[in-house]
Symmetry: C2
Subunit: 384 residues, 2 copies
């Protein structure tokens, strides 16, 4: 029986994780839930799952939640809040496994705390690895704590890596749907509207990640994540456009063999993989291989998708550059969604921020967060 | 340093194995060579590789080879012959690894001897597994002897199986090029000539295996081989037609993940994999994933390729039925190549032989060979 701390319990990964707990009651229990501001949902989750601890965004929300739980006659749940609250959940002695699914750098301190507490982490938060991958993976290696990736590409890579050892890896190939503008000619990129960019062909996602998918910055963040998670050089990571999103990624070994992972596009699969690793429980999630007819692949176009190039450059430099790439993109995407800059203004903004950033390599989470704030400020100033 | 006994050294797998030894002199040495009747080639191999023992088909050939070696001043090579000669090579105390690449049931006794002597086997001979898989794998399990498959499909499966454990395997998917008649309408199968059938779109191979590829009986033999090698039920093995022969096979796990193996179609890759396992040495054999554009898949057509259905049925029954499938096919293919029966006469002959065979389960290699002889005789009688 594994007792889970689920950070980001009301988000889509958090909810999918709870559906896995529902499906496998003999394997998983809920020890802690950390949510943000969705009080109705986290209240319902507390009633259903009876965690030892629950965390919400603020002291005020914590008070409201505690009152509702009292009224409902639900006792014995410790209600905490804020960053300290998520850290409490992540390092709870009763938890055996931490699902890190808080979006953005907000999840960073709790993820770090989980690793410091020696708890295996299922990581759905790619910003953590982009901004602080060097710090997190070093801490994990020192404590022999496994970090199991929950996004579909890195989860696929993790599976393919089981067919060899680290020194035998030649190249990690991350697949990319290519986003809505995969086939759009370059001269039409200037006229892309937020409405067009928000239509993603394959996945339904949040607004920022949808735009990041359209610029392919999302794939760039995944390149950096792959470098950190699997301890490879940026030159060992490549992107392969694959519109069907059937092959979730591939690993090429030095002997010439390439392993690929195929599955349905359902986040429950990588979540279950992370929770159960090294076991593979029967999931009921079946890809219909009998119906498979075609798989298409293309090379990525770095001219139409300069964010991808910027990400490889930031991966190479690491440290502050990786942090700034993510931070500047978030600010630029916001500006694009508010129609303050054009689509190609996103990479231009990131490039300018990266050009102004120091070569520093933060060694603490506090330094990472400070660099993140600085980069956001630089981006905002640029956009004014 | 691994010292190899190479059974079938003058055949294509044998020669590729020696090219691997050439490429990795720090890893591999030649301890024994077993050839057939190609005296010039085996003489040259003896001069180059100086094995401790060499075996040829007959006493007469052994005498000739010994004389030529003496004349050439090559001393210290023990020249043996016949089945006993291959058994001597396979069980040589100085050999650490046996490459079993003698075509047909001729390699059976030597392969069995290698396993009984506790030597890891690289298996390129699929008839061994089809005819005596139950005996060979039981012996291997009892002695904890690994059998590493050298044909590309089972080698791919072996690689994909590293991403999980046996109990987690749902289905093994063997890919098939589909052969030259993949798209031929059923009503034209009656008119297929040996010349048409001998043109294989992807691989250059021997005559029998080329016809077996055209009837898909070859894939059927591989289905049986997969059942025996990986200890799965016939219902857990499926065939997927994949004309590009880029994905060499796939393994579907119960959690819904499918692992696939991709590589160049070069036999040196599976040979090196088998020799080096569990290591993956850098081989220089690179599949150009950057150039990959399309992969196509189809379901196999059991109506146009009844040999595939017959093989699944024989896999289910096992024992004498597997042996007879292979034996009857060899006789029927010979008759087809001599234009004595039409193309669809091959499955008809096999089906009749299978219908007349007992349900026996041979438990010794001698019984297997006797059953094989009987089935050949039955097929020959039928065809007269």
């Amino acid at each position: 029986m594994k007792r889970l701390a689920i950070l980001g319990s009301t988000g889509s990964i958090g909810q999918s994780t709870l559906s896995i707990v529902e499906q496998f009651p003999e394997r998983y229990q809920v020890a802690a839930l950390a949510a943000g501001r969705n009080l109705d949902e986290v209240f319902a989750q507390c009633v259903r799952w009876r965690p030892r601890v629950v965390s919400v965004a603020t002291e005020e929300l914590a008070g409201q939640l505690a009152a509702r739980l009292r009224q409902a006659g639900v006792n014995g749940i410790n209600v905490v809040y804020g960053t300290q609250g998520t850290v409490t959940c992540a390092s709870l002695p009763e938890a055996d496994f931490v699902v890190s699914a808080i979006v953005g750098v907000a999840g960073l301190e709790a993820t770090h705390a989980a690793i410091l507490a020696g708890k295996p982490v299922g990581l759905a938060n790619k910003e953590c690895m982009v901004a602080a991958g060097e710090i997190l993976t070093r801490a994990a290696r020192e404590r022999n704590v496994p970090i199991l990736p929950i996004d579909s590409e890195h989860n696929a890579v993790h599976q393919c890596l089981r067919a060899g050892v680290a020194a035998e890896v030649k190249t990690i190939w991350l697949t990319a749907s290519g986003g809505p503008f995969r086939q759009l000619p370059l001269d039409q990129f200037a006229a892309i509207t937020p409405e067009q960019a928000l239509k993603h062909p394959t996945w339904v996602m949040g607004r920022r990640i949808t735009i990041d998918s359209a610029t392919m910055l999302n794939k760039g963040l995944e390149v950096i994540e792959a470098c950190r998670l699997f301890n490879v050089q940026p030159s060992q990571v490549r992107v392969k456009v694959h519109p069907q999103s059937t092959v979730h990624s591939l690993v090429e070994y030095v002997d010439g063999s390439i392993l690929a992972q195929i599955s349905v596009t359902d986040m429950r699969l990588p979540i279950l993989y992370a929770l159960a690793w090294p076991e593979r429980p029967s999931s009921g999630l079946t890809f219909d291989l009998a119906a498979l007819r075609h798989l298409d692949f293309e090379e990525p176009d770095f001219e139409r998708f300069p964010c991808l190039r910027l990400a490889f450059e930031a991966a190479e430099k690491g440290g502050a550059h990786s942090i700034a790439l993510n931070a500047a993109d978030e600010v630029a995407v916001e500006a694009f969604l508010e129609s303050r800059i054009p689509f190609m203004g996103i990479p231009r903004t990131i490039e300018k921020v990266l050009a102004s950033i120091s070569e520093a390599h933060p060694t603490t989470i506090a330094e990472v967060l400070a660099t993140d704030r600085e980069a956001r400020q630089t981006a905002r100033t640029l956009l004014q």
